[in-house]
């Protein structure tokens, strides 16, 4: 029983990560109709916003400490971050400690700018091109972004810890009056879950309660006609792209403490996020979110030992099996709209 509750928690948590990535992707892929293979790269860049901010906050001046030596036997250079010298060691250390949450604020303008540049500079020429061309160009872009990050940050993962305040786990069991220390869940993952809920809610509200969503949907179905009605669809597409990039970026920032970022993490998530979006159904935001949670929970259950011993390797393929079954049972995924990318 505890095991099941824990796996549901895991599933929801995983699901919120999937849903968040899929949400950003579906804004571009499901709504603008651009097969954006660079979406994973945006997610990765988001995570590197956290790394970068951490680096910036850690910018240090060096002093030589003659009493200690480095690995070559020379006097050791001791680094003191500027923030610590400016704000005092305590406040400074606290700022550095909180670099991941701070990076959210940092990432929003950065990601929106990246989204704008990407859309204005590149993607806008590809709305009318075949999907295959979009794949080629965004894949190229993803590689380029990835290689740039690799060049500046290396290929290894970079530890990007959450603030100390979020270390440790919340004890659900104790709260519910069960055995303590059995149903525990890390604070940061709970934060991630809440954060995902807020972002998903925010995006939904924006698209639901403004006509923006309808206009973009219409623009994707028939740009020409929307233009005839006096609407500057290009601008809205750009905004949409910016939002999508920001969502991807924030998802990345928040994920950094769970999964130390490296340049490759975008590609690792790419296939999965496409699967989630398509299983959710093209053009449907709720579908993407639902599929994210569904696949997250399924994956968690499939990795339970009891199930694994029954069907070896099921945890490796559950997502794909589920995708196949869902797509065969429902022609347009869970909630897909007719006619969107069906040809």
């Amino acid at each position: 029983m505890d095991a099941i509750i824990l796996q549901i928690l895991n599933g929801l948590d995983k699901g919120s990560a999937y849903a968040l990535i899929a949400l950003g992707l579906t804004l571009i892929f499901g709504t603008l109709g651009v097969v954006n293979f660079a979406h994973g790269a945006l997610f990765m860049i988001g995570a590197f916003c956290a790394v970068t901010l951490n680096k910036i906050l850690n910018l240090s001046f060096e002093t030589l400490d003659p009493t200690r030596t480095d690995f070559l036997g020379n006097p050791l250079k001791v680094k003191t971050p500027y923030v610590e010298s400016w704000f005092g060691p305590d406040v400074g250390a606290a700022i550095i400690d909180w670099s991941v949450p701070l990076a959210i604020l940092f990432s929003i303008p950065v990601m929106i700018a990246i989204g704008f540049i990407m859309e204005r500079g590149l993607i806008k020429h590809f709305y009318r091109r075949p999907h295959a061309d979009q794949i080629l160009v965004t894949f190229g872009l993803a590689i380029v972004l990835q290689e740039l990050i690799k060049h500046y940050f290396g290929a290894n993962q970079i530890a990007t810890p959450a603030p100390d305040a979020f270390r440790g786990s919340f004890d659900f069991g104790a709260m519910l009056g069960l055995d303590p220390n059995v149903i525990i869940y890390p604070y940061w993952r709970l934060v991630y879950f809440a954060f995902a809920a807020v972002i998903i809610g925010g995006v939904f509200a924006f698209l639901q309660f403004t006509t923006f969503g309808m206009v973009v949907r219409a623009g994707m179905a028939d740009r020409e006609t929307v233009g005839l009605l006096g609407i500057n669809i290009d601008r809205r597409f750009t905004i949409m792209f910016g939002i999508a990039a920001a969502v991807a970026g924030m998802a990345g920032v928040m994920y950094a403490p769970i999964n130390s970022p490296n340049y490759h993490m975008g590609m690792d998530f790419l296939v999965l996020s496409f699967v989630v979006v398509v299983v959710g159904g093209m053009g449907s935001l709720p579908g993407a979110v639902l599929a994210g949670f569904l696949l997250g929970v399924l994956e968690s259950f499939a990795s339970m030992n009891a199930i694994k011993s029954l069907i070896p390797g099921i945890d490796q393929i559950i997502i794909y099996v589920a995708a196949i079954i869902i797509l065969l049972m429902r022609p347009r995924g869970l909630m897909g709209r007719k006619g969107v990318m069906e040809d």
Binding site: D2, A3, L6, Q7, L9, N10, G11, D13, K14, A17, R68, D70, F71, L72, L76, K150, G154, A155, N156, Q157, I158, A159, T160, P161, R167, G168, S169, N181, V182, I184, Y185, P186, W188, R189, P257, I258, N259, S260, N262, H264, M265, D268, F269, E299, S300, S303, M304, N305, K308, G313, D315, Q316
Partner: protein, 413 residues
């Protein structure tokens, strides 16, 4: 024989991961190779050539031929690695291939070199199979292996954590992971530990939460992570996040063990490695002369200390050159014969033997622990014990290594 050097130079092929998750390790290997070539050609400070027990290398290349090298990208895929190695052999006339950062690639390239008739001096490969069931006459491994990790680590674990422990394994679901799991399990069980469960995790997994929470349901009190690279960083970070290390089970503090450590990658786990035991082939903080010489020349050139992967690649290059010089021939069979059963010292791991029966080096193994108070960004691990070679030696027909045979050496066309 294949690619017999005709002109004034001889070409070595360094096949390392330049893309993919192990690219940094590959880059470090490449640095080491370049340094080795420099030293062989008599440039630089000579590095370990000064401390090497064999003195036949004179800094004038190999057998008087200048050493040149070509590089390629394995992409950590056996296919790509073989293609790259083939191009070195077919196009550039490389006579020895070295490098690599995973066992799958090592075994695949070793097989290729066997068929093509060149020598393979493997880089970082830890699976038992490389010199076990997949061993090849033309292939040689300096790096240690999973069995040795287990044999070295188990006594230290028993000493620190007691002999009455219940272990839970998370294992990367591919050949290397399996051999490591098997080795560690056997070694720890021999000392009285029990194994609660061994769970395979998909290679592509990045979120291990659903493999970690079931541990909370068992009475296991040690978690052993048979993971490497990104898997290791993520599973360790997440296990710590889940508060495993703060847990007390069966009245004992819960512990995590990472049997194969890589300093480069441990950085990705940050604080979380502190106090965690593991093993490693070599570490720059060793104080023997060979290590000091190598760290000095590497550190002076590149500004940071070398990794174990760099060390093994450097050493392998010297060993190959030395074997050629001693055999006075580039013929792979002669070189192989010179390496087989060769005993040497001064290359950082103390006295070492290249065993003839399986082409595996036998030397001391380091047990390390994540350092509590690192002095610098490179100072992540501390050596807690140097396990003597006798303790990690096994019979060539040990069941974990059985099944293959070296076959005959192949000098190629």
């Amino acid at each position: 024989f294949t690619n017999a050097p005709t002109g004034g130079s001889v070409t070595l092929g360094f096949n390392v991961p330049q893309s993919g998750p192990y690219a940094d390790e590959g880059a470090d290997e490449l640095r080491a190779f370049q340094l080795a070539v420099e030293h062989l050609n008599g440039d630089g400070d000579g590095g370990m050539l000064q401390t090497f027990s064999s003195k036949v290398l004179e800094g004038n290349g190999i057998l008087g031929k200048k050493v040149e090298y070509v590089t390629g990208d394995t992409q950590t895929k056996s296919d790509a690695a073989r293609a790259s190695a083939k191009s070195m052999i077919e196009k550039d006339g490389a006579i020895m291939i070295s490098g690599g950062s995973s066992s799958g690639v090592a075994v695949a390239v070793q097989g290729l070199c066997q068929e093509a008739g060149v020598i393979f001096m493997s880089g970082l490969t830890h699976s038992n199979d490389t010199t076990g069931k997949d061993k090849k006459a033309n292939g040689f491994r300096h790096f240690f292996n999973a069995y040795m990790s287990g044999a070295a680590l188990a006594p230290v674990l028993a000493k620190n954590y007691g002999t009455d422990r219940k272990a839970y394994h998370l294992t990367a679901d591919y050949t290397w992971g399996w051999t490591q799991e098997e080795s560690i399990k056997a070694a720890t069980e021999a000392l009285g530990w029990t194994t609660v469960n061994t769970v395979r995790t998909p290679l592509a997994a990045t979120d291990f939460s659903s493999y970690i929470t079931p541990i909370l349901q068992t009475d296991a009190d040690v978690l052993i992570l048979n993971h490497y690279g990104g898997n290791m960083v993520n599973s360790l970070t997440q296990a710590v996040q889940f508060g495993l290390r703060d847990k007390v089970v069966n009245g004992k503090q819960f512990e995590i063990v990472v049997p194969l450590y890589s300093r480069l990658m441990a950085r990705g786990a940050g604080e979380n490695v502190k106090g965690i035991y593991g093993s490693t082939n070599w570490h720059w903080s060793l104080q023997d002369e060979g290590t000091k010489a190598f760290v000095k020349s590497f550190g002076t050139k590149y500004g940071f200390p070398p990794s174990q992967a760099a060390h093994t690649c450097y050493v392998q290059t010297l060993l190959y050159a030395d074997a050629v010089a001693r055999a006075k021939s580039f013929n792979p069979c002669d070189v192989g014969a010179a390496l087989e059963g060769y005993e040497f010292d001064g290359l950082g791991n103390g006295k070492t033997l290249y065993r003839a029966a399986d082409h595996q080096c036998f030397k001391d193994v380091l047990v390390v622990r994540g350092k509590e108070n690192p002095q610098s960004e490179f100072d992540l691990l501390e050596v807690v014990e140097v396990t003597p070679v006798d303790q990690v030696t096994y019979a060539p027909d040990h069941p974990m290594f059985a099944g293959g045979s070296l076959g005959a050496c192949n000098p190629g066309a």
